[in-house]
């Protein structure tokens, strides 16, 4: 009914169930990938027992520090085997890198699990993305809206993709310790992190007003990107304290800058309350405390909000001092060796002074970040539709990693050859890994040889390498459906079905009529036999539903252009007053229906129309006092023999471009289904 337009709840059960079903299916695929890889390795190992044993022993002996290593000695294998393992044995991963890698791996997996919330397909854009653009300039909003289009048009496949991409990236970082696999995984993490930062966090809000470190600026995903960049560095970079100093110096500059921003006058952070209203910090904390969460946490956050309201100046002063102190300590540690004598109390090297400052800064940072994470960010994922634990944990991981990179330098390790091209290549190695000989030189023999050579790298890969391959598979389970969905400019019909329910399947003769079309020519339903008719009822001067339904029909007509001549899109006037040909033409022009070759807009006398309305159970009611005519929003799909085959509710819901496209897809699908039934 016009005026009764319904919205779309983010917890819509139909969408939630479709999301769960998609995740279940993809979980099965993921399990199948791992099972297939495991079986392939077992089979290959039975053909290449020597290499497989070597690989197994290599992985087992190297422990967590050698995940991904597969061969004995400090050698790497060439070819695909090299790509699968691609790291030397005997090289121990620096603890700083391991902390960063596993830490961010766990965070990615946690984020992926959060993405699996049932409300995510419909809620992400409205509850997360759009609020994040508030206060950002127009170009940011346009860019973010553009980026969110695939999600809004195809919420199920793209939301499911986000789950598997993030779980896959997390697994990838955890199982691929070093070598090419690890670096590719790290770069993939950077790429996805950038996508999340730009389109999910609107650049972390750095272009918006009122952002502060305390709320999570400049965006958690930016720290994911930074971690990915560090993990993608050549392994040699981690074997020198220089990288640690650089990390701490950058973090120091960042903290110092955040201190300046926090202290900047006129941004409201010095007042807990102002003019009887909560200041920005107080307001955010109070908002967070209102969101669903454990009672003790809500009480804790609410109490802190009250404290900030009462002592806003003091809280901000402490924040500025602590941020500046942490920044200063990290900067001093970062530049300690580079000639700033004030920082280096020792004579040379990293100096215990730098390390001490770094340690002080690190512990202060950890405490402050944890306090902010709990009291201000409310653990990040509470409060609405949480997608990540916010910025404090990733940030802390970064500077802890920097501290460890400065202070825990691994012992000198064997030379690493990451190219995978050198050591393994050679006749001796080939002979070692030659495996069983293949008899015969005919076509079957060549195929068998090819198959065996393909299995060889699988047989020689370590368990960790196989797991990394599985993680890549998990990521691809996410990437591929999203990529496919992004190429489809038409929204899923599921959105229309979530608004109005699925079409009722019918099979009864449609009531006949003879009316006049928009050109003044008589048209009867009998005259349309042989064509599938999509029939609806429209008031040409209605101000909300009917223009939208008209646009949906126009879009459906364009989708059905290939079936032109076999399909008719038709509407019958649903107004006792505005039913002239001139009004119908005005409506057609306004909604782009005038150019549609298969379009009919039918009218008649009030008596004629009233009979048709009755026959098709369409209620048409004229209301007083400046209200539009009330009528049913419904569409009938009538087959070539004049039988009603489907009845669709056509309440256009929120009337967005997405819902209009979804209804058009649904209409076109119904018409094609009836066409195909014949």
């Amino acid at each position: 009914m016009p005026g009764m337009r319904s919205g779309l709840n983010i917890n819509n059960p139909m969408v939630a169930e479709a999301f769960r079903a998609a995740l279940r299916t993809q979980l099965f695929i993921v399990a199948a990938i791992f099972l297939a890889l495991w079986l392939a390795r077992l089979i290959a190992a039975s053909w290449w027992p020597v290499s497989a044993q070597a690989g197994a022993s290599g992985s087992g002996a190297s422990g967590s520090g050698a995940l991904g290593a597969g061969a004995a000695g400090s050698q790497v294998r060439g070819g695909l085997a090299g790509w699968l393992a691609a790291s030397p044995v005997g090289w121990r991963e620096p603890v700083a890198r391991r902390v960063l890698r596993i830490g961010f791996g766990i965070i990615w997996i946690f984020d992926g699990i959060l993405q699996a919330q049932p409300a995510m397909p419909l809620g992400l854009t409205s509850q997360v993305v759009q609020p994040s653009t508030a206060g950002s300039p127009g170009w940011v909003r346009h860019l973010v809206n553009w980026g969110a289009t695939p999600w809004t048009y195809h919420p199920i496949p793209v939301a499911a993709s986000a789950v598997w991409i993030q779980v896959g990236l997390g697994l990838w970082l955890i199982v691929a310790g070093q070598g090419r696999w690890a670096r590719i995984g790290a770069l993939a993490s950077v790429g996805w992190g950038l996508i999340v930062w730009v389109f999910g966090e609107s650049f972390g809000g750095i272009f918006a007003a009122g952002q502060t470190w305390l709320f999570g600026a400049p965006g958690a995903a930016l720290f994911y990107c930074a971690a990915g960049v560090l993990l993608a560095l050549p392994v040699q970079a981690w074997r020198s304290p220089r990288l640690g100093r650089q990390i701490l110096a950058v973090m120091g500059a960042f903290f110092a800058g955040m201190a300046v921003l926090q202290a900047w006058p006129g941004r409201g952070f010095w007042q807990g309350t102002g003019h009887g209203q909560a200041g920005p910090l107080t307001g955010m904390i109070q908002d967070m405390s209102q969101t669903p969460q454990p009672r003790f946490l809500a009480h804790l956050v609410s109490s802190f909000g009250g404290f900030v309201a009462a002592h806003g100046f003091a809280v901000n002063l402490v924040s500025v001092i602590v941020l500046a102190g942490i920044g200063g300590a990290f900067l001093a540690a970062g530049f300690g060796r580079a000639g700033f004598g004030w920082a280096g109390l020792g004579s040379a090297g990293s100096g215990w002074g730098s390390a001490r400052l770094a340690r002080l800064g690190m512990w202060a940072g950890i405490v402050f970040c944890l306090a902010d994470w709990v009291l201000v960010e409310d653990l990040g994922f509470f409060g609405g539709l949480g997608t990540d634990p916010n910025s404090m944990i990733p940030m802390a991981l970064l500077f802890v990693s920097g501290y460890l990179a400065l202070t825990r330098i691994p012992a000198e390790a064997p030379v690493v050859d990451e190219t995978g091209a050198g050591a393994a290549a050679g006749p001796e190695r080939d002979r070692q890994d030659a495996g069983p000989a293949v008899q015969g030189t005919g076509p079957h023999g060549r195929v068998a040889a090819l198959l065996l050579s393909a299995l060889r790298p699988v047989a020689t890969a370590s368990a960790a390498s196989i797991a990394a391959l599985g993680a890549l598979g998990v990521t691809l389970v996410g990437v591929l459906p999203a990529a496919a969905a992004s190429t489809n400019p038409h929204a899923d019909p599921l959105i229309a079905q979530a608004i109005d329910g699925t079409a009722a399947q019918e099979n009864y003769p449609a009531a006949g009529f003879t009316l006049t079309d928009q050109n003044g020519a008589p048209v009867s339903l009998a005259g349309l036999h042989g064509k599938v008719v999509l029939l609806t009822f429209l008031d040409p001067v209605c101000t909300n539903d009917c223009p939208l339904i008209g646009r949906e029909f126009a879009a459906a007509g364009r989708l059905l252009a290939g079936d032109s001549g076999r399909i008719r899109l038709a509407a019958i006037v649903a107004s006792k007053t505005y039913r002239s040909v001139a009004v119908m033409r005005a409506y057609d022009r306004a909604e782009g229906l005038g150019r549609l070759p298969d379009w009919l807009f039918l009218t008649g006398s009030v008596a004629q129309l009233s009979k048709v309305w009755h026959d098709y159970a369409v209620a048409v009611q004229t209301l007083p006092a400046g209200a539009m005519t009330l009528h049913s929003d419904v569409a009938y799909v009538i087959d070539q023999s004049g039988h009603v085959r489907q009845v669709l509710n056509m309440d256009p819901g929120p009337g967005t471009a997405v819902s209009q496209s979804s209804f058009a897809t649904q209409l076109a699908g119904s018409a094609r289904q009836v066409l195909g039934d014949r």
């Binding site: 900047w264 970062g334 000639g339 909300n544 001139a582 007083p624 400046g626 209200a627």
Partner: protein, 440 residues
């Protein structure tokens, strides 16, 4: 050394990022989505008086949500004491109603587009709104009470569109054709002398000649144009010469209509009191002689908001204005002087002259032929003006005999009549069945 440079570069980058965030925090402010109505341009609330009766257009609903406020049409036929709701059925009127009468008991109403509707449905009546027939204008009507005009006798229509175009239609409003546009008018010879910044009203002369009116960028020029049909059609400057006192100010035609005696226009000289510039209202009449008579100016200097909330005419050339501060002024008949009215009741949205020889409940009026006027009120250019003092409204009841104030509150229309003692007395309440939620 290189390491230090690298670090310095990173630090600089971080600083720039932080500075960028800081700058963004103070520069990023949105602008309102839609341009506000020019301060002097009256709203759509108005009244129309013909020999057959009175019509009133007012918005009811009282909601903050636009789609719960509905514009309504009320009629008070000649000989009737009461107003009744006659809003044409079938169209949501949230966008506004604009009405024009060809005279007698006839009226054409146009619905301004709202929500997803982009054109203007029309409705016409010849029996005081008892029954309506439909029509359509295949475009959106402009947001001004003078956007629609009907020729005397009802043969033709003029419509001013929201894009500044003017269209005309013959009998039945079946076929509309372009007459001109703001751009075309600006390029014409009279347009160049005016520099029209916007068009605000259309009308027909009693002889059926199309008129267009607007605001001139050139100071002291009144933007009134008449159209001579022909193979190409020519527009002529048709506005009055204005008094020297307002010669240096921009002039905007706020309202324009025609009566049996000729055309009546309401002009504003100045940009609105809220801008701090002197602003005067002037009424102008043109009769059979073709010469304009201009009233003494009504100064708006102490009207706080500097706005004209609503304005209208009587059938004999009378003019009323309801100002932004709630006060009202009127000119009782053609050529008379401005006179302040007693402060209208709160919630008053428009005033209406009573039709001639109409008896209202408990109050008998002789319409605008009331006594108490001085013949010196028949002014022409150069008269000293009436200053709107905002106080001392007394003793004008007789002068404004038959004047009514119509006020809206929620879904209720209240009508007050001006008494002989200079007060307002409630004479009628109309409960309107506003269909809340029907456009949501």
């Amino acid at each position: 050394m290189n390491g230090r440079r690298w670090l310095a570069g990173l630090a600089l980058l971080a600083a720039v990022t932080v500075a960028g965030a800081g700058c963004a925090s103070v520069t990023s402010r949105g602008r309102p989505d839609s341009a506000p109505r020019p301060p002097l341009l009256p709203g759509l609330d108005t009244s129309i008086v013909t020999s057959g009766g009175s019509w009133a257009v007012a918005v009811l609903g009282g909601s903050a949500a636009a789609d719960n406020n509905f514009w309504q049409l009320f009629a008070r036929p000649a000989g009737s004491a009461a107003w009744r709701l006659v809003t044409p059925p079938g169209v949501a009127s949230n966008g506004g109603l604009v009405a024009a009468s060809p005279g007698g008991r006839s009226l054409v109403a146009a619905f301004r587009p709202s929500q997803d509707l982009v054109f203007s449905p029309l409705a016409s009546t010849g029996d005081d709104g008892a029954s309506w027939s439909s029509g359509v204008l295949d475009a959106g009507l402009a947001d001004t009470p003078g956007a629609l005009a009907a020729s005397p006798g009802g043969g033709r229509l003029l419509a001013l569109l929201s894009g500044g175009e003017i269209e005309q239609a013959g009998r039945g409003a079946a076929n509309w054709s372009a007459l001109t546009s703001l751009r075309s008018l600006a390029a014409s010879a009279p347009g160049r002398r005016c520099g029209p910044a916007e068009l605000t009203a259309v009308a027909f002369t009693p002889a059926g000649t199309p008129l267009a009116a607007g605001a001139c960028a050139r100071a002291g020029v009144s933007g009134l144009f008449s159209y001579t049909p022909g193979t190409t059609g020519v527009w002529h400057a048709a506005g009055p010469a204005l008094p020297a006192a307002v010669a240096g100010r921009p002039v905007r035609v706020l309202r324009l209509t025609s009566t049996a005696a000729g055309e009546v226009a309401l002009l504003a000289a100045g940009t609105g009191a809220s801008t701090g510039a002197a602003t005067d209202l002037l009424a102008c009449w043109r009769g059979d002689s073709g010469r304009w008579t201009v009233s003494a100016p009504l100064a708006l200097a102490d009207v706080p908001a500097g706005t004209v909330r609503a304005a209208g005419f009587s059938a004999a050339g009378g003019v009323w204005v309801l100002l932004g501060n709630g006060q009202a002024d009127m000119i009782a008949r053609q050529g008379a002087a401005w006179q302040p009215l007693p402060l209208p009741p709160s919630h008053t949205t428009l005033l209406a002259f009573a039709p001639a020889t109409t008896s209202t409940t408990g109050h008998t009026s002789t319409g605008h032929s009331s006594t108490g006027h001085s013949s010196t009120g028949h002014t022409s250019t150069g008269h000293s003006g009436t200053s709107h003092s905002g106080t001392s409204h007394s003793g004008n009841g007789a002068a404004a005999g038959g004047m009514q104030a119509l006020g809206t509150f929620g879904s209720k229309l209240t009508v007050w009549s001006l008494t002989g003692s200079g007060g307002w007395r409630r004479v009628q309440t109309v409960n309107v069945p506003v269909q809340y939620g029907s456009s949501g």
